[in-house]
């Protein structure tokens, strides 16, 4: 198995784009055009649904970043959904900030809380990290539910948007949603293709090996945790900009985590395309099974378990493996020079 | 009939092949040595025989009965016991508990806690201490004693002299002789060639995962051994 002697070895070529990614780029442009046109051709209900879909997609991408790329399995991200939502209300209603501007600002609030939170939860590892994140989310929920200024258990309504005409509010919300969705995807794509992103995937694959290569594991994990908190907080604000009414039990509900976990696991963990597939499937199932209530959740649970046992690469992973697809390529292929 | 008969044993760790069609025979009551350089596959061979390498293929018969593919815990019940490389003493158990856990399968035989403690008195003296408190040589005694508690028909011993002082190694080999006297068959893997060849009836030399030499130590010359060992 020794290499044949050769005069001068040629350097291998590292490349990232594939035929599928080029096709994917085209499809994305078409889809984007359709989405931009929607307010003029679609109904208010469709717009609300797209906002909801984008919100879940971004939540899923954030969880995917945490668990699929950084190996941080959190079941407490709902903390930032709630914090983002309440930050929106406080910023817009109490502090007079423009409600649309308050959405990204809510993300900043989420990060501010995420920093001390990380100090606590990073003391745990593995399965206990998961429970720890959830315990912390519960603490935030209870703190909010016990605060008069935040409406206690009954919650609050977003009043800052009342002066706006309904179409304006809906269009504004929709536009922000599109912006957030695009920004999240773009940011993930850029980050994962970067050196830091490569370092992240190295950590996921082997922490000790990464450390021996000089990668600062703690710093990288913290950065990812903060990024995810930001993205989740912004999305929380978006969700409640769309819903207008917030309460602690709904905003800090573990259901947010349940949905995102199922979306990511069934769609495909550790890929950019997986959460997209998962979200679409999630919505599709919800539409056809909506009157079955609890059975729908049971089905999701069973699907997620089966996926984890048999198809850990998820639906997208199955498809990608079969046909060698890579629509949003973040890996680098090594090709022998021609 | 041989106690152990191995034909064309190959072992893989994922895609990496560590053993290439190894064949060997061990008669009841023998002490067979397996020597070879680092990475030659000696430990893999013992582990594969003990059922600890899932990617192993080939025919293995213990007392005429096919045992290939059986997991380690079942093989212990059949009398095939491995004293692993690195000793693997359980830190959460005391010295005595480490010995007792060796008897988990409850196989009948000459070895009991008292008997093992007579063979290695230090294990009685320090029986209540955590197993990992012992020195390297004492842990090796504990590991061997633990293996004996299972009353094996065939005891596989992996690298007992590694990192130990010559006096300790001598004592361990005296213990091996006592174990043989009870009728236990032994396969001993060793880096310290001279020590093991002094007690072994037959020797196999491994090189790059295959058998490079087999024979009776007294009849093998230095040059022959060195050649099989290093591949010169």
């Amino acid at each position: 198995m020794s290499a044949p002697a050769s005069a001068t070895p040629l350097a291998p070529v590292v490349e990232r784009t594939t035929p599928a990614s080029r096709a994917g780029a085209v499809a994305s442009v078409v889809l984007l055009a359709a989405l931009i046109a929607l307010p003029w051709v679609g109904t208010s209900g469709t717009m609300r649904m797209v906002v909801e879909l984008i919100a879940l997609l971004v939540l899923a991408q954030m969880w995917n970043l945490l668990a699929g790329y950084a190996g941080l399995v959190s079941i407490g991200q709902q903390a930032y959904v709630g914090l983002g939502g309440y930050a929106l209300i406080v910023l817009a209603d109490d502090l007079g900030v423009n409600p649309f501007l308050a959405v990204p600002l809510a993300g900043v609030v989420a990060v501010a809380v995420a920093l001390p939170t990380a100090v606590l939860v990073f003391r745990f590892r593995g399965g206990y990290f998961a429970v720890g994140t959830w315990a912390v989310a519960e603490v935030y929920r209870l703190l909010v539910a016990n605060t008069d200024a935040l409406g206690r258990g009954t919650g609050r309504t977003l009043k800052a948007v009342f002066p706006l005409a309904r179409e304006t509010r809906e269009l504004g919300t929709y536009a922000i949603a599109l912006g957030i969705g695009l920004a999240a995807l773009a940011a993930m794509y850029v980050y994962l293709r970067s050196r830091q992103g490569l370092g992240l995937m190295a950590i996921r694959d082997s922490e000790p090996a990464s450390e021996s290569l000089g990668i600062d594991v703690f710093r990288t994990k913290l950065t990812v945790y903060l990024i995810a908190a930001f993205g989740t907080g912004v999305t929380g604000a978006l969700i409640y900009l769309n819903l207008l009414r917030i309460s602690p039990d709904a905003a800090f509900s573990i259901s947010w985590t349940a949905y995102t976990i199922f979306i990511v696991v069934i769609g495909g963990l550790g890929t950019l395309e997986g959460p997209i597939v998962g979200t679409l499937l999630f919505f599709f199932l919800r539409e056809i099974l909506s009157e079955y209530g609890a059975w729908y959740m049971i089905l999701l649970g069973v699907l997620a378990i089966v996926a984890m046992l048999r198809f850990p690469q998820g639906l997208w992973g199955l498809v990608a493996e079969r046909w060698g697809l890579d629509v949003f390529p973040v890996r680098r292929r090594v090709r022998a020079p021609r | 009939m041989s106690l152990l008969s191995v034909r064309e044993l190959s072992a893989f760790y994922g895609d990496f092949q560590a053993l290439f069609g190894v064949s060997l025979e061990v008669a009841a009551g023998e002490l067979v040595a397996v020597i070879g350089a680092n990475g030659a596959g000696k430990t893999t061979l013992l582990r594969a025989l003990a059922g600890a390498v899932p990617g192993a293929r080939g025919a293995v018969e213990l007392e005429g009965r096919s045992v290939a593919g059986l997991p380690a815990e079942v093989l212990v019940g059949l009398g095939l016991v491995l004293v692993p490389e690195g000793r693997k003493i359980f830190p959460s158990l005391t010295v005595e508990e480490n010995l007792r856990v060796g008897a988990y399968r409850g196989r009948p035989g000459p070895w009991s806690l008292a008997r093992v403690q007579r063979l290695f008195p230090i294990l009685a003296a320090r029986r209540r201490e955590p197993g990992t408190n012992l020195s390297g040589g004492e842990q090796q005694m504990l590991a061997i004693g633990r293996g004996l508690m299972a009353n094996p028909r065939l005891l596989l011993v992996d690298e007992i002299s590694l990192g130990l002082a010559p006096l300790m190694v001598k004592r361990l080999y005296e213990a091996l002789t006592a174990i043989r006297a009870e009728g236990t068959t032994l396969i001993v893997v060793e880096q310290d060639v001279s020590q093991v060849l002094a007690v072994a009836e037959r020797v196999y030399c491994l090189r790059k995962g295959a058998v490079s030499l087999e024979g009776v130590p007294a009849r093998l010359g230095r040059a022959q051994l060195a050649g099989a060992y290093f591949g010169t």
């Binding site: 590892r125 998961a130 315990a135 049971i298 984890m308 | 158990l93 508990e97």
Partner: protein
């Protein structure tokens, strides 16, 4: 006096929490597995007991004899068929699958038993109280719960410290590969650990159901309190789990005395304080909080 009363109630509540925590601690110690559906299994047991009571007019305490073995068998089966495959595959699979169990159990209970809250009625013992003098009274049932917790913990401690199975548990926990070389069947042992865990948590669930009302969604809070009790007490110590439960219980009852909505929150804050100041817990023999 009201404060002493609160503390006593808290201590006894701690017994119940210790019952919840023990099963969690056991499987984590043996297999490094965190069962996110731990609380939900206890509620499942409570509902099964409620069903037994409804169908056969049993006293809930007698229903224990039916439900506990059933839950033990369920635990063994789930470990054997599903969970054991996930060990050694990293954190994510076990977290996800047990989370999936949690969702399935909760929604299954919702479908089967509706959203109504339930209570198990053992016919009076739960309200009977014992006077300790000085105006202080404790309920018989909380006392019984505490006693059962101590008994079960003690029994488990004996099992782990002085039996062959206990040695096998500890060996498997240290080094599963080496344990196999001793003739230990890891899969069977893991099944046994899970069976014990679910059996104990079934007792906890039924005792909870006698003490207070429960619904399909009561599980997650049980997991949370169990987890907090384990962390406060320190990993790797069974008696530490009892202490952790007591500390948590007292924090909750005293907190509730300070302000009605603050009971549970006080417990959480004490948990966070321990995590911040002494992460290895109050009694741990120096182990990292690893899974």
């Amino acid at each position: 006096m009201a404060w002493v009363d609160a503390v006593v109630q808290g201590v006894l509540l701690g017994g119940l929490y210790a019952l919840f925590a023990t099963g969690l601690s056991l499987i984590f110690g043996v297999m490094r597995l965190v069962n996110l559906a731990h609380g939900d299994f206890s509620i499942l047991a409570a509902f099964l007991a409620a069903a037994a009571v409804a169908v056969w007019s049993l006293n809930p305490l007698l229903a224990l004899a039916l439900v506990v073995p059933l839950m033990a068998a369920l635990g063994y089966g789930l470990q054997w068929l599903v969970l054991d495959r996930l060990l050694g595959r990293g954190v994510l699979p076990a977290v996800l699958v047990t989370f999936g169990f949690s969702v399935i159990i909760q929604n299954g209970l919702l479908e089967a038993f509706s959203a109504d809250s339930r209570r198990l009625n053992p016919g009076g013992i739960e309200t009977a109280s014992l006077s300790l003098g000085g105006g202080l009274a404790v309920g018989w049932f909380p006392l019984l719960t505490f006693a059962v917790a101590v008994l079960l913990l003690g029994g488990l401690q004996l099992l782990i410290g002085h039996t062959a199975i206990g040695r096998a548990f500890r060996a498997t926990s240290d080094d599963p590969a080496a344990a196999a070389l001793m003739g230990i069947d890891n899969r069977r042992l893991h099944g046994l650990a899970m069976a014990l865990s679910l059996a104990i948590v079934a007792v906890a669930g039924i005792f909870l159901g006698i003490r207070t009302t429960f619904t399909f969604g009561s599980g997650p809070d049980r997991l949370l309190f169990a987890f907090e009790a384990v962390i406060i007490g320190g990993l790797g110590s069974l008696w530490g789990t009892l202490v952790g439960g007591v500390v948590l219980g007292v924090a909750q009852t005293v907190g509730a005395k300070l302000s009605p909505g603050w009971g549970i929150l006080t417990g959480h804050l004490v948990f966070l304080a321990v995590l911040l100041l002494r992460p290895s817990g109050l009694f741990s023999p120096k182990r990292r909080v690893d899974a």
